[in-house]
Symmetry: C2
Amino acid sequence: MATPTSCLSFPLLILSLLFSSTFDQISAVGFPINVWPKPTTFFWSHPQAKPLSPIFTIATPYHQYLTPAIERYRRQVLNEHHKPLVSPSVNLTSTTPLQTLTVSVTDLTTPLTHGVNESYALSIPAVGSTAYLKAETAWGAMRGLESFSQLVWGDPLRVASELYIYDSPLFEHRGVMLDTSRNFYGVSDLLRLINAMGMNKLNVFHWHITDSHSFPLVLPSEPDLAGKGSYGEEMKYSPEDVQRVVEFGLERGVRVLPEVDMPAHTGSWAEAYPEIVACANMFWWPAGSAWADRLASEPGTGQLNPLNAKTYEIIKNILRDITTMFPEPFYHGGADEIIPGCWKANPSIQAFMDDNGTLSQLLEIFVNSTFPYIVSLNRTVVYWEDVLLDAEIKVNPSFLPPENTILQTWNNGPNNTKKIVSSGYRAIVSSSDFYYLDCGHGDFLGNDSQYNQPPGSDQGNGGSWCGPFKTWQTIYNYDITYGLSEEEAKLVLGGEVALWSEQADSTVLDPRIWPRTSAMAEALWSGNRDETGMKRYAEATDRLNEWRYRMVTRGIAAEPIQPLWCIRNPGMCNTVNPF
Amino acid sequence: MATPTSCLSFPLLILSLLFSSTFDQISAVGFPINVWPKPTTFFWSHPQAKPLSPIFTIATPYHQYLTPAIERYRRQVLNEHHKPLVSPSVNLTSTTPLQTLTVSVTDLTTPLTHGVNESYALSIPAVGSTAYLKAETAWGAMRGLESFSQLVWGDPLRVASELYIYDSPLFEHRGVMLDTSRNFYGVSDLLRLINAMGMNKLNVFHWHITDSHSFPLVLPSEPDLAGKGSYGEEMKYSPEDVQRVVEFGLERGVRVLPEVDMPAHTGSWAEAYPEIVACANMFWWPAGSAWADRLASEPGTGQLNPLNAKTYEIIKNILRDITTMFPEPFYHGGADEIIPGCWKANPSIQAFMDDNGTLSQLLEIFVNSTFPYIVSLNRTVVYWEDVLLDAEIKVNPSFLPPENTILQTWNNGPNNTKKIVSSGYRAIVSSSDFYYLDCGHGDFLGNDSQYNQPPGSDQGNGGSWCGPFKTWQTIYNYDITYGLSEEEAKLVLGGEVALWSEQADSTVLDPRIWPRTSAMAEALWSGNRDETGMKRYAEATDRLNEWRYRMVTRGIAAEPIQPLWCIRNPGMCNTVNPF
């Protein structure tokens, strides 16, 4: 229900004047006061500020999720007292404190789904004691509140004034994938992640909940999966935990997109149902075998047997529970890294192959027995690209109608993105060359002789398959629509960084993810180029640095990207010569 | 004063029998109960345990630092209740609880210095209620207490029994270098680091206190250095802080070896004394200049001017204060990375060169004006190898008598170690190819175009000069005496991992350092090979994993090296095929 509270007082005329092309955008001025990700249009011609009243309030109509968000931002704005790392050269041009931020939302009924309008306009006029935030939806209002919070600093409190922002994202899908199966993360870790995502205007938490290593999700219809397949009593997510995560996301405009990976990556299911899992608990790559004959992409074997009717009984129970627990209209069906050796090790599958069945047909049986059911639960299905692009085991595209299917790409950089969209599918980009946050810390295998080379040997990229480490600049500079036509680019919904957890858990969650994910957040929100079309990574350094420190004071242990000295001495840590 | 409390009851005869070569050492049995670093001799033939009494005590004569250590260990042993990740298959063969650990020390007066005897023997007999720890020094007793603490687990408490350890380190210098100038670390960070060092039987905290970026050390005779050169009021170390760090180290057998780097890496001194610092606050690598003409190894310019008498006035004040604050008989004089361009940019130095003076002569003037003074303060001087091995600016060896000089190597792997020891100097190994913990996270420079390459470009090692990331195995497998004769090897005192802090601060201290530094700790304590001479990295994986989890429960956020699943399924995450 749209309630036009203070809409009328919103200075639309001024905004439309300001946003006309005759006004230059302000980029580098006053970076200590900046909003990350950088708004698409940001007008603050003569950096100036006004006091923020200690009894500052935010006025808004009631909304189940926006109202708690507003209360959270009000407290944050009044208590954060951010200290910029470089004292901002901002004039205090008014002594009239800002008393009120009036928030108006055109349609308060719009749910948080893919493609929701996240635009907002924020106006903090030089005169008067009121600022205005206008958005189409509650979710756009949350984006504006975050921007507003980043414009407040100091003790006593200051807020930027004579400032106008009009802002909306370039890409609708801006996410983080976290694997909670290889190592476990507590609910507080997930909430801290989602909270930081909200700060960075990211909107999808892709929760890779289960895998071969553990099955931490407690499902009412299938309690044994976590009961036997989790890492232990304190390493499970109850339905109440899930509800808490989902609600926490809604209060921050972050959708929670669940993935129960299948049919591969299901070794942990065998603890409860050994009869439906092929090759479970076997040694992953037998001595003397060729790489092609391994049983899994990495240790932790097990793939669901598509020929067993019980497989689908259990899957349907899982899917019914999941769709009840997660309101999100996207569901991630997994389907990555199906390894031939595993299925071939199963007698019933061997018999199927002896009957001239192929492994791709086996996958088609699996998809055809699950995909329509997921669609019947009103879900759009996201799959890893492998389901269609794997060299060996893949389905015919006819099994996956593009209207219900989205493919998430992780191999071959822009080449696979192109394959996906040129086939008419929508794509989510998680290129392992750019967006995999775990890469660069070496391989995790035991007994690995590659690290026992004579001194002087080339250490290459350090031995992780997707090494080297992806720096924030590597992430920032990646153009996820690289090489696509304008039409093709429209099918790229956005991107997700991914943290696979072979070598990550609670101890490193924050620094592995932040501030590198902030780099993606800006690239997908307002791009990685300045008004002239040049990549703006140089100018972004100081802003990201400042933002990283602000995240740290907000409780996110983001890793440093430079000595503090560099921020205090802008430009002095740059290079101006090519290496 | 040696007090032979319970020495007589120590089963020396049994030990000497057990340690004879007719008994195999037990390596892989019962890894859930293991001591890290692995003791040199560890006898636990039939893994068995006894209860640990809830009123367990440790008996010992009084010692200023050992007594608090004993109280700390007593509390830890009673309260830790370690849960092994794999249930140990250990028989509870006795119901008589262990009541007392009797500690005897041959010479309680031995101070903590380089080369101190750290050996200990620990005996937990199957019968009776007393265990025995015997050491030559208080510092060896601390090593034994740590081992004992790692042999206790469970709730109710269990302790390994019928167990005998005789243990002493291969290398006398086992350290961690931390740079607290580029980014600041709070005292609590330093204490947590030293605490974890003690757990890993490391004995030297090499504190790289100052550099060009900040001067956080408050010196009573030179208060302006930190007053103007630190990052700020809350980013300084007071003399009381230093005392706390030093005492904390003494209670853990960790020496605190201070470094005030000079004559390069001194930009921060210019805040207080611009007149003694050449090229301070200049842009580090002017546009269009050759690399050879840069002013500093990285942003943050400034090198002391050896021709200014005031330079030595200030240095002598610093040295007097430092030697008062730090009892450690080694002092680190820095002397790394003197860059010609910086000195050349100074008019008085330019005049000296016009007079046919060379930059090496300039360094000789500097060394000759400082080294004898440091020696007169009863210090052995450690320098970075550059002082003798730099290609351009180095001193004649006659300025640095080997009896007072130790060189720390970081370039060219074993080649420079060889150069150092074959010249008769003692060496500390910090090869950047193996022991630099910061490497592999990309370069920190701003405006760096190397990360803006077209997709598909080779990302190499990720762009950090010492990349790739050094995995725990890379560190574990390095033989620091590689290529040396037996005589030469004797001059290798040991090694130090190093964390330079361009991209590190409190947020990542623990996971950058641990558990990788545990890998060095074992390699330098008892080696990286099994009894047959084979590298034991495969067997070490599970033990290190277990140890990493124990460190985490002890409050050290060490990063994970594998999925938890791997530890629960020993051997299943190994590779047995070469990649």
